[in-house]
């Protein structure tokens, strides 16, 4: 998983570099575009994702203490925040497109939609992983995801790997939030 995480970071670094380079070329256009973004929703999303990261981290703590009930509850809260994040983001997009600010308007909005779309894909991938973690914590009668038969205890390493990915998604959002919403 660390191999994957480093790869993701590398890909996103390329995106940030391109974004900032282009932003350097015509700052006025980007600034104008940025004013039209609502920072409030951006902050709200950041808070939501941070709380979901906290819950997932606490879930890992609980799993280490073999307290499966609490761990599942934390996991559910974390997943819930993730879904909430996606809803808020979708709402923001809808508002933007209804205000006739589609991606094809100009470069800034293309970047904005591309970054947020890519990040949404990572969030959905993360949610999928959280579902797998949930099945790991309370296995259905059928086998768990790629689990060797007979492994009774929920595998802590598997939970940690999933949590790592979720934190990376959160960290990436923090960077995107800063660069897209707040940067001058």
């Amino acid at each position: 998983m660390w191999f994957f995480v480093i790869g993701e970071l590398w890909i996103f670094t390329c995106y940030f570099a391109c974004y900032i380079y282009d932003r350097g070329q015509n700052p006025e256009l980007f600034l104008a575009g940025q004013q039209l973004l609502s920072r409030g929703i951006g902050v709200l999303n950041t808070i939501i994702l941070l709380t979901s990261s906290l819950f997932v981290a606490l879930c890992v703590q609980a799993t280490r203490a073999r307290d499966v009930a609490t761990a599942s509850r934390f996991l559910a809260l974390g997943g819930g925040c993730g879904v909430l994040f996606m809803l808020v983001k979708a709402g923001e997009w809808y508002v933007k497109i209804r205000e006739r600010l589609p991606p094809s308007l100009h470069e800034f909005f293309l970047y904005y939609f591309m970054f947020t779309a890519l990040h949404l894909i990572h969030v959905s991938l993360g949610l999928l992983i959280l579902v797998l973690l949930w099945r790991e914590l309370n296995p259905m009668p059928r086998r768990r995801f790629a689990a060797a038969p007979g492994a009774e205890q929920p595998r802590v390493a598997f939970i940690e790997v999933g949590a790592t990915y979720w934190h990376i998604v959160d960290a990436l959002w923090i960077a995107i939030f800063a660069l897209v919403y707040l940067m001058r």
Binding site: F3, S104, L110, L118
Partner: protein, 254 residues
């Protein structure tokens, strides 16, 4: 597997040990070596001969487009492409054989991979080839028809994403679910990156400038770089998978 039952019954006389082949996996090696051969030929055709990769700018002026479409190398390259595209299906054959060896994974994923590649061949590769050849074939077309062919060729070449997305998803899922680790897990993660680059190539339909255009840094260059890397790693892992395939697995069922 009804296939193997049938062969076992119908071939009582054939004893597989009498194979006089140089290596028991000759057919897989033939398919395997078709991958590097085809992709170097593919690179040669598209980069050197047709100069389609690296693509010219989408905002090229009309005279440049007309001049670009009339280059004779373009049509000869497309003819060679039409000639050699069949080799791509050879590569999918051997990958499907290895995918069917996976445990805990039904052959559905292998067949999905096979079909995805069979579908990807036409809209992603041969159809743009024909479109470029059409442009070169008739110089007397009106300029706007040439521009249309130019766009159609590049957009369908760089922009046909769906077939490859499905191929990568199926391949990654098979690798992660497989308990016999025919292919290493990091190849699964690399496949997910390749999937991400396909998604990043989506905005080439929206914009014609900047890093997301069809010759842009992110949509094209990063996608091509990761695709070439993925292809190289696939060859390495496939080589290892074929090499340590136990011999008794070969024979009728295969």
């Amino acid at each position: 597997m009804s296939g193997s039952a049938l062969t076992a019954v119908a071939a009582p006389s054939a004893s597989v040990e009498t194979l006089r082949l140089p290596s028991r996996k000759l057919d897989q090696w033939i398919c395997y070596w078709s991958i590097p051969f085809f992709y170097t030929l593919f690179g040669l055709i598209f980069a050197a001969l047709g100069r389609i990769m690296p693509p010219p700018s989408p905002t090229a002026s009309v005279p440049d487009i007309l001049e670009y479409m009339q280059r004779p190398g373009l049509r000869v390259g497309m003819a060679l492409l039409a000639l050699s595209l069949g080799l791509a299906s050879l590569s999918s054959g051997v990958i499907v054989v290895q995918m069917k060896r996976m445990e805990g994974v039904s052959p559905a994923l292998a067949y999905a991979y096979l079909t995805a590649l069979a579908v990807a061949g036409v809209p992603g590769c041969l159809f743009p080839g024909f479109v470029f050849a059409l442009g070169g074939f008739r110089p007397e077309y009106a300029p706007e028809i040439h521009v249309m062919l130019y766009d159609l060729g590049f957009l369908s070449f760089v922009g046909s994403l769906g077939c490859f997305v499905v191929q990568y998803v199926v391949f990654a899922v098979a690798i992660f679910l497989d308990r016999r680790t025919i292919f290493p897990k990091w190849l699964g993660y690399l496949t997910i990156w390749a999937l991400v680059t396909e998604l990043v190539a989506a905005p080439i339909w929206v914009t014609r400038t900047g890093p997301f255009a069809w010759n842009g840094l992110l949509s094209f260059w990063q996608g091509t770089a990761i695709f070439v890397g993925w292809e190289f790693c696939l060859c390495v892992c496939l080589h290892r998978a074929i090499k340590n395939q136990p011999l008794e697995e070969l024979g009728c069922e295969g």
